[in-house]
């Protein structure tokens, strides 16, 4: 990877990596640090990283950095409790999007990362498996479980709202 290609990676993938991290840990400053660390590693290993693999490399590094950060800080459950406004489900004016995000935040980190990587970045099962160091079948099963959890939560909200 040349320096220009590295700059292109910064332009193209920095937003996605930051969004993926900040949606997971819900802490902007820590997410910025993780993104910076990911790009630093990409810069250091730019000779070994192919340009077409740069995106998955960045997400892989960022994901593992995030896991380490979660393990060290262990403040994700607390943030989930504090940062998300608890709006009563029976209020009809609550948008479906916010309900969905609240439901996503209630998933476990693996399922949440699977959903985010799939929906936001459009990765295939195989790519997600590479990023998260899982098998493709594990990704498929975990993601389907997460979808069903979200569907049940949305269905519950819809039934209460109606």
């Amino acid at each position: 990877m040349t320096d220009i290609e590295y700059n292109d990676c910064v332009d193209n993938f920095a937003d996605g990596v930051y969004r993926f991290i900040v949606k997971n840990i819900r802490h902007p400053e820590d997410a910025q640090d993780i993104v910076q660390s990911a790009f630093e590693k990409l810069w250091v290993n730019r000779a070994q990283v192919l340009p077409e693999k740069a995106k998955s490399y960045l997400f892989t590094v960022a994901y593992h950095e995030m896991i380490d950060h979660i393990r060290k800080s262990n403040k994700m459950p607390l943030e989930e409790e504090t940062s998300i406004p608890h709006e009563p489900i029976n209020q009809g004016h609550v948008e479906l999007k916010q309900v969905l995000m609240r439901a996503v935040n209630q998933l476990n980190p693996t399922q949440k990362s699977l959903v985010l990587l799939k929906d936001y970045e459009g990765y295939s099962y195989q790519e997600i498996a590479e990023i998260m160091n899982l098998s493709e079948s594990q990704v498929k099963v975990y993601l389907h479980r997460a979808r069903l959890i979200l569907k049940n939560k949305l269905s519950a909200y819809a039934s209460i709202a109606s």
């Binding site: 320096d3 590295y6 700059n7 910064v10 332009d11 920095a14 937003d15 990596v17 930051y18 969004r19 900040v22 949606k23 910025q32 993104v35 910076q36 790009f39 630093e40 810069w43 479906l96 999007k97 969905l100 995000m101 996503v104 959903v115 985010l116 799939k118 929906d119 936001y120 459009g122 295939s124 099962y125 498929k140 993601l143 389907h144 979808r147 069903l148 979200l150 569907k151 949305l154 269905s155």
Partner: protein, 327 residues
């Protein structure tokens, strides 16, 4: 792909995850058209898909700013093109820096070393120095003994002087002439001896620095003592007539005395019997209240000519040693 009640959920999930091929997707859509009851199920699953949000990362430029090498290259090019030549010209303008400083840096040969000889003991020099030191000590001791001899001679001469003074005192030829010519109120008494001491006078050489202070308190007769006592600040000049009526250089001056000395009178006398020794001696005798106790203060000076002779000998020895060594 077989769509039925047991498999539709998995296939629908694959459908919303875009994991189906185009043909499979068409089959799923056809199944939903044929079975409208599954359409709500498909909509519920589609509702779980997150909409893409645009969350920009605000520090992209900082990440790009870490590309140091590119910036350094451009800076280096800019430096070489714009500033390096200017700096080189400015350095060349500094006098002494462009030529001499560079030449000093480009020194090709090693500078000559200076051999420092160790300090060695020179036996010859030490021998000569020891001899010279012994000579100086010997000559100094000799001068000291001579001065002691002269002291004894001076004491004898003072005795003769006292005798002379006694004789002068008893001599009817001595005329005491009060000298009132001085502007001050001090009274001076001039003792003029008419005795013939021409031979002694002729032996006297005019030495300006030779002085002897001799206390001749008890040697003076009572009349002189009384005069001296009454005139503490008076001076007595002993003058003798010379053939051409000149005043003799020999002077006896009664110096000013402190009161605590029990009226001692010190007379400076020019004693000429020490001219052969060419040594200047001065004495000061101070009597105390105890008559058996007298304080004597003496100092001697070695004549410069004699000391010059010593130094001349030592320098001759050293020169000889040096010439021999050079040969």
């Amino acid at each position: 792909m077989q769509l039925n009640e047991s498999t539709y959920e998995t296939i629908f999930l694959l459908y919303i995850d875009n994991e189906l091929s185009h043909k499979e997707r068409l089959e799923v859509e056809a199944f939903i058209v044929d079975n409208p009851g599954y359409a709500l199920e498909m909509e519920a699953l589609k509702a779980t898909v997150l909409n893409v949000e645009n969350i920009p990362y605000a520090f992209k430029e900082n990440l790009k700013h870490q590309l140091v090498e590119t910036s350094l290259e451009t800076l280096e090019e800019d430096w070489n093109t714009n500033y390096a030549s200017v700096l080189k010209e400015e350095v060349q303008k500094i006098p002494g820096l462009s030529t001499s400083f560079k030449h000093s840096l480009k020194k090709a040969t090693v500078s000559e070393g200076i051999m420092i000889q160790p300090l060695r003991f020179n036996q010859h020099k030490f021998t000569y120095a020891a001899i010279a030191a012994c000579l100086m000590v010997f000559i100094g001791y000799q001068q000291l003994t001579k001065s002691q001899l002269s002291d004894s001679q001076v004491s004898s001469s003072s005795a003769t002087n006292s005798m002379v003074s006694n004789s002068l005192a008893t001599n009817s030829n001595i005329v005491l002439v009060p000298n009132v010519s001085s502007a001050s109120t001090k009274s001076e008494v001039t003792i003029i001896s008419k005795t013939n001491k021409q031979e002694l006078v002729n032996n006297i050489k005019p030495i300006t620095k030779t002085k002897k202070e001799i206390l001749i308190l008890e040697k003076l007769n009572t009349s002189e003592l009384e005069i001296a006592k009454t005139n503490r600040n008076a001076s007595i000049a002993i003058t003798e007539p010379t053939p051409n009526n000149s005043i003799l250089n020999t002077q006896g001056i009664i110096t000013k005395l402190p009161t605590s000395y029990n009226n001692p009178i010190t007379i400076d006398a020019m004693v000429e019997n020490t001219t052969e020794e060419r040594v200047t001696t001065s004495y000061e005798l101070i009597e105390t209240e105890d008559p058996n106790r007298t304080i004597s203060i003496a100092n001697f000076e070695i004549d410069g000519a004699a000391f010059r002779g010593i130094t001349r000998r030592v320098s001759a020895i050293l020169k000889r040693n040096k010439s021999e060594k050079e040969k």
